[in-house]
Point group: D4
Chain length 226, copies 8
C-alpha cells in the first residue's frame, strides 16, 4: 500500500475479526486506497472475513463501492459493511435503548455484532423513567448472554438492568441530551459509577465498540469448551 495507509491485515488471525475502518478525517484518496486493498485481498488471497467502515458519509460510501461494489450501506448505523451478516448464528446479543433518540448508536452496535456473525435482538425505547416498560421485557432480557445498553440523558438504564440480569452488560453512553449532559459525559459518568456490578463501559456514541465486545463475549460460548 502507499505511504499513508497501512492496513493491519493480520488482525483477523490475531483477534478473530478484521480491522474496522474509522472514516471521519480520512481523505478520499486514503479511503479509495483502503477499499482497493481490501478488494485485492478478498480476491487474490481469499480473505473472507467481513470488514466494516464506520461513521461513513453517503459520499464516502460512494467511494468505497467503486472498489467494493457489493458493500452495503446501513444508513442509520452509518456503517458500510463488506461480507456476510449474521452468518454464524451466534445467539444471545441483545441491544437495548433508553430512548428513541439513542437508536442510531444502537443500530451501530447491532449491525457490528451481526457482521461478526451474531443474531441480535433489538429492544428500543424502554428507559427507566417509566420502569414498567423495562420490567415488561424481562423474559427477553434474561435470555441474553450479552446486553448492549445504550442510553443518553442521565444514563440510568444499565444500572437498573445490571441488577436484573446475570449476563454481562456493556453500557454505551450517547450524546443525546443538552446542558450538563455535556455531549454524553453525564451518562458516561453514571455508567462508570454504576452501583450494579459487572457493567462495563465504552466511549460516548461508540456503538461499534459495544457491539464488538458483545459479539466477542457470545462467540466464545460457541467456540470454546470449558
Amino acid at each position: 500500500m502507499n505511504a499513508e495507509v497501512n492496513l493491519d491485515f493480520g488482525r483477523a488471525a490475531r483477534t478473530g475479526f478484521s480491522e474496522v475502518i474509522y472514516c471521519p478525517g480520512k481523505s478520499d484518496g486514503q479511503l479509495s486506497l483502503i477499499a482497493q486493498e481490501i478488494a485485492r485481498r478478498r480476491e487474490e488471497e481469499s480473505e473472507n472475513e467481513s470488514t466494516l467502515f464506520s461513521r461513513v458519509t453517503p459520499e464516502q460510501h460512494e467511494i468505497i463501492t467503486r472498489h467494493l461494489p457489493d458493500a452495503v450501506f446501513h444508513e442509520r448505523a452509518r456503517i458500510t459493511g463488506v461480507g456476510t451478516r449474521g452468518g454464524r448464528h451466534y445467539r444471545g446479543v441483545a441491544v437495548v435503548t433508553a430512548g428513541s433518540g439513542d437508536v442510531p448508536v444502537a443500530e451501530e452496535a447491532a449491525v457490528t455484532a451481526e457482521y461478526m456473525g451474531c443474531e441480535v435482538k433489538r429492544l428500543y425505547d424502554v428507559g427507566v423513567a417509566g420502569i414498567h416498560r423495562l420490567l415488561a421485557r424481562l423474559p427477553d432480557l434474561r435470555e441474553a448472554r450479552a446486553i448492549v445498553a445504550v442510553a443518553g440523558m442521565e444514563g440510568a438504564l444499565p444500572t437498573v438492568l445490571g441488577g436484573l440480569v446475570s449476563c454481562p452488560v456493556i453500557a454505551v453512553p450517547t450524546s443525546v441530551g443538552y446542558g450538563v449532559n455535556f455531549g454524553g459525559v453525564a451518562p458516561l459518568l453514571t455508567m462508570l459509577n454504576s452501583c450494579a456490578l459487572g457493567v462495563t463501559v465504552v466511549n460516548i456514541d461508540n456503538g461499534i465498540g459495544g457491539g464488538y465486545a458483545a459479539a466477542t463475549i457470545v462467540r466464545q460460548i460457541y467456540e470454546r469448551q470449558g
Copy 2:
C-alpha cells in the same frame, strides 16, 4: 452584634424560617457571638422560631450550648437545633436514600424538615440496582407530598422515583463513591439530566437545602387555600 457577624433576624418574617448558621470556617469567637445574640433574642424579644446550626462539630456544639443550654445535638445530621422539632405536624415529607452510606445526609434533611414543623417518613437503602426494594415501598412513596431523594454513586434513584410518583422530588446528590464519582459530581449530573420531569436538585451533600425545600412545599398545603 460585633463587626464580624451580622445575623439576618428579619428572615423568619420574610421567608417563614430563621437563618441556618453554616458553621465550617466560623471562628470560635464568631460562633459564640452568634449563639449569644440568638439567646438574647429568644429571651428579650420572644423570638420563637427554631434556629439550626449546620455542619457542627462536637466542639462547636459545646460553644453553642454555653449560651443556648437547651440546644440539641443531632450527631449524624451534624446539626445543633434550637427550638421545637416536628411541632406543626405538617405531614407528607419523605426522605429516601439509595444506600446506607447516604444516611448522614438524609438525616440532615430529615432533621431540618422536622425543625420546620414537619413529620418525616424515612425510607433508607432502597436503591435501584435491586429495583424490587424500591417498588416494595410504593404505597409509602405515593402518599408523600414532597420526597427528598438522597443518592451517591451513580445517583439514579430520583429518576426512577420521578416516574413513579406525582409529588415534587428534590434530589440530593451525595459524595459517596470513588473514582469518577468526583466527590458527588457524577450523581449531581445524573440528577440534573434526569429524564424524569419535575425532579429538582440541590448541591452535593446539601441535606439542609433538600429538607428545607421539602418543608416549604408541604407547609403551603397547610397554610394556603387555593
Copy 3:
C-alpha cells in the same frame, strides 16, 4: 406502536401529567408515529390529559399537526401543545427572568405550567445588577406559591429572590452569556451554591422542568388537604 417508539401511556395516572416528548434527535418517522399514537389515544380512549412536544422545530410541528391538527405551536417556547391550556386555574406560579435574553426559556416554563392547568404571572428583565427593579416587584413575588427564576450570565437572581420570599424557588440557569459562562454552567453553579435556602435547580435551559416542578407544587395546594 412500532419497535422504535414506546410511549409511556400510564404516566398521567402515575404522575398526574402525560409524557413530554423531547423532540431533538427524533427522526421524522418516529415523530409521526408518536403523533399518530397520541391521536388514536385521544380519540379511542378519551385520553384527555394535555401532551407537550418540547424543543420543536417548525418542520417538526408540521409533522405533528398531520395527525394532531389542533396542536398549537408556541414559537418562542419551542413547544407544540395538545389539549387545554390554563384550564384548572391553579394560581400562584410566577416566572421571573434576570434579562430579556432569558425570555425563551422562561416562556418554555410558563407554557408548560399553563398546559398543566396553572395561571402564570410573568415578570421579565428584573435582574440584580439594578436591584431596585426586583424590589419594585416584591408584592407580586410575595403572592406567588412557586417561583421559577430564570437567569443566565452570573445567575445571581435566585439567591437574592430566595432571601425575599417564603415560597419554593426553582432556579433555571440559561446559556445566555459567553466566555467562562461555559454555556450556562456558571449560573448553574451559582444556583447550586446559593446561600439562600430552599432554592432548587434544574438543568441548563430546562424551562420544561422548571415549569413542571412549579405546577406540581401548586397543584398540591388545590388537590390535597392537610
Copy 4:
C-alpha cells in the same frame, strides 16, 4: 433488618452472585447488622453463595468476624470474603498489570473472580514502555477468555493488549500517577478512547467490577450451550 440497611438477598438468584458490600462510609453499627444478617441467612436458609465486603479496613474486618468468624481478610485486595474461593474451577480469567503499583487493584479483581468460582492467572508488571515484557507473555494471554488489564500512569496497556488477543479485555484504570494523571482520569480516558476494539472499561480503581465482569463472561462458557 433495621431501618438503615436493607440487603438485596434475591440478588444471587437474579444475577448469579450475591451483593458485594461496599464498606467505606458504613458505620460500625450498619456493618454489624449486615454481617449478622448474612450469618443468619447462611445458617437458617442455607444460603451458600459467597459474599464479599470490599474496601474493608482491618477494623471493619474485626467487626465482620464477630458474626462471621470464618470470613477471610485479603489484605492487599482490601476484601473480606465469606464462602468458597475458586471452587467452580472456571478457567480463563487473566489479570494483568502495567506496573507493580497497580497490584492492589489487580488483587481486588483476582480475589473477586476467585470467590465467583474462577481460577485466575496473574501477570503483573508487564507494561508497555518495555513492550518485550508483554510480548513474552503472549502464549499465556492468548489462552485467556477474559483479561482484566489494570494500569495507571498513561494507561496504554489495554490498547496494546486489545490488538493482540481475541478474548474480551476489561480495562481497569488506577489512580497510580501524579500531576495530570488526575487520580486516574488520564488512564480512564486512554482506555475509553482506545483504538483497539472490544476493550470495555470500569471506574478508576474498580478491581471488584473488573473481576466481576470477567467472571461473568467466563462463567457463561461453562454454564450455557450455544
Copy 5:
C-alpha cells in the same frame, strides 16, 4: 544573595511597592536568607518601603523575626508585615464580605492595603441573601473609591454591589463552601460572569492581590493630577 533566592529589590522604584514574599513551599533556609537580606537593605541602604510576607505560618514568622525583630504578625491575615502601616492616609478603600467565614481573606486584603499606606473601612457579613443588610450600608459604600468585595458560596455580592456604586469593585472569591463550590471556582465564575460592569476579579482567596489593586487605584488619586 545565595543561588536559590534572588529578591527583586528594584520593585518599589518600578511599581511603587516592594515585593510580597509568598511563603508556602519556601524552605526555612530560603526564608531566613530573604529576611536577612531585607534587614540588610533596610539598614545599609535605608530602604524604607514596607515589605509583606504572605500566607505565613507561626513557625515561619519566628524565623523571620530572628532577622527582622520589629516584624508584626497579623494572625488572621496570615501576614508578617515589616514597616509602617496606614501611614500615608490614603482614604477610600473599603473591604466588604458576604459572610463571616470570608473574614480571613478580607483581613489579608485590608492589612495589605494598610501597609501600602491606606486607611481601610471594613464592612463584614453583609451578603445578598438578606439584601437589606447590604442596602443599609450604602452611604459607606458610596464614599469608597475602591471596594474589595470578598465572597464565597455563590459569590453574588460583587454583582449586586457593582450596580449600586460608581467606584471600581475588585472581587475576591473565597474557598468558603462545599460540593460544587469546587474550592472557590463557583464564586470565581460568578464574578467573572457578573452582569455588573466594572467588576474585576483576582484568584481565589487572593486577599493580597485584592488589597494591592485597591491601594494602587486609590494611591493614584493622591499622587497624580489630571
Copy 6:
C-alpha cells in the same frame, strides 16, 4: 416599556455611566423597544449620558438606527455608540495587545473607554515572546494610569507588564488560540495566577468590562480630591 424589556435608567446616576446593552440573544422586537425608549429619554428627559450596544451585528445596528439615527457603528469593536466619544478628556488609559489577533477585543475596550470620556492610547502586537517589543514601549506604559492588557494564547503579557508599571493593570483574556487554549480559559488562568501583584481580570473577550473598569479608575483621578 413593555413586559419583556425593563431598562435600568437610574444607572448613570448610581454608577456614573448608563447601562450597556448586551445584544446577543435579543430579539429584533426587544432591541427595537430598547432603542425607542432610549431615544425617548434622550429627547424628553434630556438624558445626555452615552449609551452603548455591545456585540452588535450589522443587522442589529440597522434596527437601532431606525430610532437612534445618530448612532455610530464601530465595526471591529462590534459596538453601536450613542452620544459623545472622548469628550471629557480623561487621559491615562492605555490598551495593549499581545498579538494582532487580539485587536477586536482591544478595540471593544478602547471604544468603551472613549464613550466614557477617556482619551485612549493603543499599543498593539507587543507580546512577550519577543520581549524587546514590549520594553521599547516602556515610556508610554509608565505614563498610563490604567492599562488594559489584552492577550490570548498563553496570556503572559499582563504578568510581564505588572512587574514594570505602577498603575493598575486590567487583564482581558481572549479566545485567540487552539487546542488547550480552551477558548480563552488558558490565558484567563494565567492572568488569575499572575505572580505580578495588582493584576485584576475580567471574562474572556470582555473588552467592554476591561475598558469600563479602566475608565472608572481614571475618572476618579479627575473627579475626586484626596
Copy 7:
C-alpha cells in the same frame, strides 16, 4: 509597519529561525501588511531566512502571494512557505503517525522541519493496536535523532516508541477522535503521563511546534561541537 502588526524581525538572530505567522483571526489587511513587510526585508535587507505562515486558508495564501509571489502553499500542512526547503541537509528528523487521520498534523511538522533545513523521514499509520506495524519500522526509528510522534484517539504511540529508541521523542496529540477524546485532550493527557521517560509534549494539533522542536534538536548536532 502600521499600528496593528509589529513583526519580530530580530528573531532569526536570537533564536535561529524567523517568526512563524499564525494566521487564524488575522484580518486580510493585517496579513497583507505582514507579507509586504517581509517582502521588503527580503529585498532591501537581504534577509534570507525562511518564513512560514501557519493554518493558512487558500484565500489567505492568495493575499500573501500578492506581495510574495514565490511563496509555496502546502495544502495538507496548511502552511505557506517563503524561502528554501530542506536546504541544510540536517538529517535525523522522523515524523511518525498512529493513524492516517493524523497525517495533516504530521505534514505540518514535517514541512516546518524542512523549511528549517532538515531532511525528514515520514512513517505514517503505524499505530499501536497492531504493534507489529511499529516494530517492523524499528531500524528506521533507531536511526532518528529526533522523532515527532503524532497521534489522536488514545495517543499511546509515543509511550511505546519512547521505550524503543534513545533519541528525544516529541509527542503531538491530535484532535482525531470523538466522545471523551475531548478534541485531543485525551491523547494529550496520555502523552504527559507517559511512563516512557524523555517524551515531551506540545499543544494539540501543534505540528508546527513539534517540527520546530525536532529541527532545533537536530540542528545542534551539526552546529555545535562537544
Copy 8:
C-alpha cells in the same frame, strides 16, 4: 525476580539509560526485591549504568541501602542515585526556575541529568514579574544546549525564555500556587499554549522527565556526528 516486579533490564541498551524506579505506591517488599535485583546485576553482570529511584521517602531510601549500600540520597530532589554522577562531562544543560518554591522540582531535573552524565548549570529564582532578573542571565542562557525551565504560579517563564534563546526549551510546570493554579494545571496550560516556538512540556512536577529529555538532547551532540 518474583511475580510482582519485573524490571526492564534491556533498557539501557535500547534507550541509553536504565529504568528510573518510581517509588510512590511501591510496597516495602517490592522495593526490596528491586534493590536486590539491581545489586545482583551490578555485581554479577557488571551492569554499570546508573539507576535512579524517584520520589523516594527517607524510609524507602533506608530499604534500598540495605542491598545497595553505596546509594546516595538527594533529599531535595527526593532521588536515590546508584552509580556515577556527572561522569561523562556532557556540557550544556541549564536548569532555570521562576521562583524559589520551584527548587525541589528543579533539583530533581538537575540530579537526573547529572546521573546521565551531564554537567548542569543552575539558575534559580529569575522569574518574569521582574524581567530584569532573567535578562541579566542571558549570557549563561545563550550558552546552553538544552534548558529545563521550571515554573509554577502562572508559568510564563518558558514563553519569555523561548523568545530569547535558540536551543530547545523543556518546560516543567510545578504545583506551586493556589486557587485556580489547580495543582499546576494553570502553568501547564500556559506552557502548552506558549506563543514561543520550540517549547515542549512534561507533566506537572516531573523534574525527572525534564532532566532526562535535556540530557538526551545534549548527549547526542557528543555521541553523533552529522
